[in-house]
Structure formats: structure tokens, C-alpha cells
Symmetry: C2
């Protein structure tokens, strides 16, 4: 399978390597910044770094767009592609229709994971959410996906949005709570490192539970109004912390009162 | 060192075993429900199960109160203790003063971790937060603490409250977000299991970061108003989910705008 990668960021970096390991041939890596394209091309087997959108002479069959969500439509519309090319984007938030401007077969190939260049990642456990508006394209994308991951799902644009909302709650919001927690401790010269074993075990417990609600602990779930009062009193001078504390405490009490 | 454990719940269960491994002798385990006390006494070396507060003939030096936060003061006031006894509670939320009703040396011995009977836990990585109003008692508690953990900290009641607030944000609130996330996916017949590798990697990234704010991702931090609008539109019929989404999204934007 001959492939081109448009983009040289975190997703491109990991996906290109995973595809190559799965016996795909990466012909070109595109970046506006040729140095970035070269950096990625160098760690691949036989790949050309390019900074032009003219792929008319490429013998790639599939073009993976791995650029930021807002740039997808614009990049897609500028591509000059060989005949019969398949263009896929790799975004969790963008519908398949983000590629409507392209005259080509279209698809989505979304790895549901967070990537950093420095952190090595085993693709075989990463869920790959696949979509296409053509059955042959769908089969081709599924075939590639199954070569690199054990978890391949056909997911509509609408359902992909729902997974993304779930990921925002589970990951983006949780991470922000950890940032707030660190600030709270450091405002009193206390060490966030002390909390890390507790955080690790909390996640571990949740990952092995039937439902996170079953392993919910803390003052809100046991309706410990005295402790909640002391916490709010401590947070009273920081409007933002107090608002997040109040909103989540109320949400936990409501949830567990109804159950 | 001769010790008695008041309580037979999750903390008592793990702490008693850790103390025994550190060459302490657990004389008695108390529970209102004698069957529970017996269950714990059975897995210990030479321990008597009791359901009376009369410890006047015990040769224990330290009495660990491992009961629910609200019961500490009441349990403490009912204890009949030998002379020179030290009474400690093991709560993150209660001040040392919760033991004011006891005529004995007093202290706090708080393992900052979440316990379940079924899950084995290595105490050596659990931070132990120690407090006492008497220097000799403090030294004795620190000595015991160091036998079972590498992380022993002397922490005032006020600072313990701050650690606890941090734990509420980091653990209780994060867990609730995971519960919400599961509900969001299941409301559309999607599978929360699909998100678990992403959650595990998000935590992993945070644990190895200098500051969680440095590894913050998602639509709020990149000010992706289009995606935020789509998410809110999807959540619009659920007041609680929408409120949590809005509060945390605003908090993330404010935080990263100021930085």
C-alpha cells in the first residue's frame, strides 16, 4: 500500500511509523515547513519530504491529512491529487464533510489517543475510528487499520462527535482538575507529588470498575456537609476554584441522590 | 510495639496488615459488629476480636481509630484506655482536635490513599501524614510510619485539609467526570471501554509532566469555539452535563488566557 502523509506534527509522526511497520510504503511527507517534513522523512525508510501540494505525480493511493482541525478543509481543497486517490482526515472533531471540497474518495481514520513526539506509543491498543462514504474505501481503510490496531470500529461522524465529548470530560477536564489541584497545594507551599500515588490508584480503580459511579468517594457522595463547608471556606477567595468545586459537588450529590 | 485497631473497615484492614509486617503486634481489633472484627483478626498473627470499648486491661501503647470521619469524636470519647496510651485517628478531613474528648496522648496518622478490601496495596509508596501535639508522641508515630512507608510527612491539621481539597479535585471530581463520560457514551449506545486507553495515557502524561497545565489539550485550551458550540449543542437537553461542561470549559479558557 502506497501512502502520503500531509502534516508532520504529533499524529503524523506516530501514524507514519505505525503504517510503515504494517508494511505500508510512505512515499511523501508534506509540511509547510520543509525542515519538519525532513525530520519525519529521515526516520522513515524511503520517504521524500515535500512542501508543495502538487501530488499529481505521486503513486500513493491514500493521502492521510494530519493537520490541525481548523486547517483540514483548506489543506484538502489545495491538494492536487492523482486519479483514484483516497483522502482521509484523522480528526476526532471534524465530520467526513470537512473533505467535501476535494474531488477524490473520502474517509476518516481517527486514532483515539493523545500523542506527543517524545512518548513512544503502541498502536495496537489504540482504537481506530473509521468512516467512509464508499464501501470499497471503507474496506480498504479497515484493512489498513486492522494491520496496526486490534480495535477498529466503524463510527459515523455523529458518533465520533459523541466519543469526542466523552473524551473532553474524561481527559481534558480531568487534566484541568489536576492542574487546579497543583495550584491549590502550591498556594500553601505543599507538594503536588504527594497526591500522585492517590491519583494513579484512583484511575486504576476506575479502569477496573464496572462503572466509575460505583467507586465514587469523597465528601459529596457521602453528603458530608461539614467537610464541604470547610473546603468552600478555604476556597472562598478564588472565584474560579470555588465555582468548579460547587458545580462538581452539586453534580455528584444530585447524581447519587437519584441513584 | 503493641497496637490496637478500632474499626474493621478498609483502612483498618490494610493498616493492620502493614503494621504487623513492620513487626508491630496487633493485640485487639474492635468492631461494633464482632463478626467483622473476627474476619480481620483471623488474617492477623495473634489478635483478639472485641466489641467493647473497655481496653483498660490491654497492653497496647497505641490505639488507631479507623472509623468513619463522623464517628471519630464519639468513638474516642467512649474508649476506656490504659495509662499512657496514645490515641490516633486516621482521617484526612478531621483535625487533631477531633480527639479533644479523650484523656490520652493524641495524634493523627493519615495514609493518603484510597483503599478497597479486595485490592492489595503496597504501603511503602503511600504518603503518611503525621501530626501530634507532643514531641515524644510525634517521634513515636514517625518511627512507626517510617517502618511501613518511604514517604512520611509531618503535616498540620490545616495543611492536611489543603491536601484533602487537592485530593477532592484530583480524584473525587475526576472520577465523577469519568462517570459522566460513560453516561454520555451509553446514552448513544457507545462503549466507554473505547475511551479507557486514552484516559490511561492522559494520566500517564500528566504524572510525568512538570505541570498538568503544560499537557492540557482539547477545544477549550486551543479556543476552538466551533467544536465547543457543537459539544454544547449535543449536551443541550441535559442541564447537569451542560453546566459541568460550561464551567470547566470557561475555567480552562480563563486559566490559559491569563498564562
Amino acid at each position: 500500500m502506497n501512502i502520503s502523509i500531509i502534516g508532520a506534527g504529533n499524529v503524523a509522526w506516530h501514524l507514519a511509523q505505525a503504517l510503515e511497520k504494517a508494511d505500508c510504503n510512505i512515499n511523501e511527507v508534506y509540511s509547510r515547513d520543509i525542515a519538519k517534513a525532513e525530520e519525519l522523512a529521515e526516520i522513515l525508510y524511503s520517504t521524500k519530504a515535500v512542501n508543495s501540494f502538487d501530488f499529481s505525480r505521486s503513486n500513493s493511493e491514500i493521502f492521510f491529512i494530519c493537520v490541525s482541525d481548523n486547517a483540514i478543509a483548506s489543506v484538502a481543497s489545495q491538494l492536487i491529487l492523482p486519479e483514484e486517490a483516497i483522502v482521509v482526515h484523522t480528526s476526532g472533531t471534524q465530520p467526513l464533510q470537512a473533505l467535501d471540497t476535494v474531488e477524490a474518495y473520502k474517509g476518516v481514520f481517527y486514532p483515539l489517543q493523545t500523542f506527543s513526539k517524545e512518548v513512544k506509543i503502541d498502536f495496537s491498543d489504540i482504537p481506530l475510528l473509521i468512516e467512509a462514504n464508499n464501501n470499497q474505501v471503507l474496506l480498504k481503510l479497515k484493512d489498513i487499520a486492522r494491520r496496526i490496531s486490534k480495535k477498529v470500529l466503524q463510527v459515523s461522524s455523529k458518533d465520533r462527535l459523541v466519543y469526542h465529548v466523552g473524551a473532553v470530560f474524561s481527559c481534558n477536564f480531568a487534566n484541568h482538575l489536576w492542574a487546579m489541584s497543583k495550584e491549590i497545594l502550591e498556594s500553601e507551599n505543599l507538594d503536588f507529588e504527594i497526591l500522585k500515588p492517590l491519583i494513579a490508584e484512583t484511575v486504576n480503580k476506575m479502569l477496573h470498575s464496572k462503572h466509575p459511579a460505583e467507586v465514587q468517594t469523597g465528601p459529596a457522595v457521602r453528603n458530608d456537609t461539614k467537610t464541604i463547608f470547610k473546603h468552600k471556606d478555604f476556597l472562598q477567595d478564588d472565584e474560579d476554584l470555588l465555582k468548579v468545586y460547587t458545580t462538581l459537588t452539586e453534580s455528584i450529590s444530585d447524581w447519587h441522590r437519584i441513584d
